[in-house]
């Protein structure tokens, strides 16, 4: 029972749920709701949608840091009031979108945004904002930070955000632990622990629901045990795959380690159904140091993959489509990454990821 609840004269919540979007939508969007006919992109960062009635809207998209102080938000609001009819929306990737019904408003709006330090772009075949998670700033289990990783990446990808020079849109995600709240993406940077959890046996008994923790382990490496008299948990380090799944339910099983919590890079995740069916991303590099505050090694590899994709892929090929065409041997060859035994699947259903054919590339 927290103080919050104890506090003062308690107010029953109004269970209002999700508000009606139309309360906040730009009037021209409401007027043409469900009646849009097509769109084009006059320039990077700008979408131009035309309605069946002939009405038009221009959307100007700009990047933000997602983790925003109220001053930044107010600044964005000022720009919205001054240049964009006082309406904004945010994308799933924390980009802000200003919608205007008058083409003349586009140029000044862009100027204002750039002047205030918000890059305009992220549309079409650009590299848009990285899907951003919590990390050290707020999460209780992170192996690294998220805001810093994203900031350092976007600094490197700034020009790619502002231009549309990729074969197709590029969606990147990062995640500060193996859980990966960031999700599947063309390129993902994810913590990969390399050592089993270090257990503080004094705390386990009080802090952890032991059966629940045992149940969380994907490889059944955890068993209850008495350690110097106290009931605790033991990990079979031969079996342990260092996933960290035991850590959230049992913080005394510390999985994070400054040296041994490394970063891995994944490619070829695709959620859209365009052309090929959605695909999961595959691990292609690992062992990269958790090198705060700017993670140069990670950014070097990400940059290399993006550069290869940019020069080698054909128009409309997403990362997954491109690799599907050139094949994995060429992918590793062209990116200069090394294929090691760790990249050969041995998880359930692994056989589906083995080459059950003589389709071989020389």
């Amino acid at each position: 029972m927290s103080q919050a609840q104890a506090a003062a004269t308690p107010r029953r919540p109004i269970e209002c749920g999700v508000p009606d979007a139309k309360e906040y939508m730009h009037p021209t969007l409401i007027k043409n709701f469900g009646n849009w006919k097509y769109h084009d992109r006059p320039r990077p960062g700008v979408l131009h949608h035309v309605s069946r009635t002939g009405e038009e809207v221009w959307t100007v998209r700009a990047g933000t840091q997602r983790q925003m102080d109220v001053y930044t938000i107010r600044k964005l609001c000022d720009i919205g009031d001054q240049f964009a009819d006082g309406h904004v929306r945010f994308t799933i990737r924390s980009n802000i979108e200003y919608i205007v019904a008058d083409e003349k408003k586009v140029a000044p709006l862009i100027e204002a945004l750039e002047k205030a330090g918000f890059p305009v772009g992220g549309t079409g075949n650009s590299v848009t904002m990285v899907a951003h998670t919590q990390g050290w700033l707020h999460c209780d289990i992170p192996g690294t930070d998220a805001s810093g990783v994203v900031k350092s990446m976007m600094d490197c990808l700034y020009e790619e955000f502002k231009n549309e020079e990729m074969p197709n849109r590029v969606h990147i995600s990062t995640s500060c632990c193996e859980i990966n709240c960031g999700g599947q993406a063309d390129i993902a940077v994810i913590i990969q622990h390399t050592k089993p959890p270090v257990i503080n046996h004094d705390l386990v008994a009080n802090v952890c629901e032991r059966p629940a923790v045992v149940a969380r382990c994907p490889v059944a490496a955890i068993r209850p045990a008495l350690v110097n008299g106290k009931p605790s948990l033991e990990v079979d380090e031969k079996k342990c795959v260092c996933c960290g799944a035991c850590f959230p339910p049992c913080p005394p099983m510390q999985i994070n380690d400054p040296e041994n919590s490394k970063l891995a890079i994944w490619v070829g995740g695709k959620n859209s159904n365009a052309r090929s069916k959605p695909t999961f991303m595959k691990m292609v590099a690992a062992g990269l140091p958790n090198n705060a505050p700017r993670w140069p090694e990670v950014n070097e590899v990400v940059g290399r993959i993006l550069h290869t994709y940019k020069t080698d892929a054909r128009p409309w090929e997403r990362m997954a489509d491109w690799i599907e065409r050139i094949g994995w041997p060429r992918f590793f060859e062209k990116t200069g990454l090394t294929f090691t035994k760790y990249l050969i699947d041995d998880w359930r259903g692994a056989r589906a990821n083995l080459n059950a054919s003589t389709h071989i590339r020389f």
Binding site: S2, Q3, A4, Q5, A8, R11, P13, E15, G17, V18, P19, D20, A21, W36, K37, Y38, H39, D40, V50, G63, Q65, M68, D69, V70, Y71, I73, D78, G86, H87, V88, R89, T91, I92, S94, I99, F118, P119, A131, T133, W136, H138, D140, G143, G148, K151, S152, Y158, I179, C181, G183, Q184, N256, G269, N271, S272, N273, A274, R275, N290, P315
Partner: protein, 432 residues
């Protein structure tokens, strides 16, 4: 107030570079708030030691079980006191956004004022599940902040083993590909599960997501337990002026390489107008006076690609609705799972249609609550019991569109075969 800033050499480096810096924002907040001075102290420590220092706990608002993510510092000195006492508590309120994340500046300013008053002044727009995350608040202020937010017409989102906050794409509000009223479907569904959102009592989390078409801009297939993804049943629509315009601009090579040859099922073909094929399942549109596109809609799998490339010239059909996929999740414990089709198509035009969607969600959620093991997601449950058992549990008929291919193994008990065939054929005749 006037607590001195701590040295933050690591964070300072994140003020350089062109991308907007969250550190600059933190510093600005720290100017007026010792709370944030110490928050930066702890964060800088994490950057030095490469360790996180937050632990969870229980904090909630009166009347709800979830929606607040409590954070207490674990960074203590020898005496066991917080090294950064001002920031010893740093809870987050998850607030559900309007569908499509539309705002006016007025409401955003109100959020800012409230959060400046009771919280850290740090807001994430948005969390990966779609919440407005009001980050950094003391236990004491959680209820106060909540009281003022709630009256703005906003409600807390999900956390823990509960229905979670949802997201819907821009959709009908600003996208020609929209196949149903996403914001309304989103609102109606979520607002029918508020009890399950506010009072966590499920085996594990359950997420709805709403994408207006198979482009799936919400990543619904991979990131939700129940994905509502727009699609259509009839023929692709065409618009000759826009088709001619596109062709004039892009030419034959782009048409062949970027459109025709990228169709996953070769349903779309380049034809000379003279040998056009007619037929009720065929869509055609002229590109110039000699050539045209011909689409055999029975071979089209509604992947969106050609429509994406030739937006407007090609468009989803008129008979629109959504497909329902169940079981998507991220990687924990079993590895990633994609949602798979359980309803190939349902209409979502009317309130009655949306009511049916709510009922389906209810049935699935109840089945999940009754049958999932603790901390098991829908996808894991279906993998354990089999899709057929799940379909029978929720009362849906099987459909060949639910599979990528029939079974390749004989390991099934099938003495009911004849009755099944009879049942299905009987149904067919009724509907015929």
């Amino acid at each position: 107030m006037a607590k001195d800033m701590h040295e933050t050499p690591n964070l300072d480096e994140l003020e350089t570079g062109p991308w907007p810096s969250f550190v600059t924002g933190l510093k600005r907040l720290a100017k007026d708030k010792d709370y944030m001075v110490d928050l930066m102290g702890q964060l800088e420590t994490s950057y030095k030691t490469r360790k996180g220092y937050w632990k969870g706990g229980t904090v909630s608002v009166f009347g709800y079980g979830g929606g607040v993510i409590p954070r207490f510092t674990e960074l203590k000195n020898e005496e066991g006191n917080p090294v950064y006492p001002e920031a010893a508590e740093f809870h987050t309120l998850r607030i559900m956004p309007p569908p499509g994340m539309h705002y006016n500046t007025d409401i955003l300013r109100k959020f800012c004022d409230i959060w400046e008053k009771y919280g850290s002044g740090l807001i994430a727009l948005h969390g990966q599940s779609g919440d407005i995350m009001l980050q950094g608040c003391t236990t004491e202020n959680v209820q106060k902040a909540w009281d003022e937010i709630n009256v703005l017409g906003f409600d807390l989102g999900g956390a823990g083993p509960a229905v979670r906050t949802s997201m819907s794409c821009a959709g009908a509000a600003r996208c020609e590909q929209s196949c149903y009223n996403e914001p309304e479907a989103h609102r109606v569904v979520i607002n029918n599960f508020l009890d399950e959102i506010h009072r966590p009592a499920l085996p594990y989390k359950f997420k709805f997501k709403f994408s207006g078409c198979p482009n799936d801009c919400m990543n619904a297939i991979q990131r939700s337990d129940m994905a509502v993804i727009g699609t259509w049943r009839d023929n692709i629509q065409t618009d000759e002026p826009l088709a001619r315009k596109w062709f004039a601009k892009h030419g034959m090579n782009e048409l062949v390489n970027d459109v025709v040859s990228r169709c996953p099922t070769k349903a779309i073909q380049l034809k000379e107008i003279k040998d056009l094929k007619a037929g009720e399942s065929v869509s055609t549109v002229a590109l110039n006076d000699t050539h045209c596109l011909e689409i055999e809609n029975r071979d089209c799998v509604r992947c969106m690609h050609c429509i994406n490339v030739m937006t407007g010239a090609l468009a989803p059909g008129k008979d629109r609705g959504a497909a329902i996929l169940v079981g998507g999740k991220r990687t924990l414990k079993v590895g990633d799972l994609m949602g798979t089709v359980v309803v190939p198509f349902m209409k979502l035009d009317t309130d009655e249609d949306r009511e049916k969607l709510v009922e389906l969600g209810r049935t699935i959620l109840d089945f999940f609550a009754d049958n999932a093991l603790e901390h098991e997601r829908t996808g894991e449950m279906i993998e354990r019991i089999g899709l057929v058992a799940f379909l029978e549990g929720i009362g849906l008929d099987v459909d060949v569109n639910m599979v990528s291919q029939p079974r390749t193994n004989p390991y099934v008990r099938m003495d009911g075969w004849d009755e099944e065939v009879a049942k299905i054929n009987a149904k067919k005749q009724q509907s015929a």
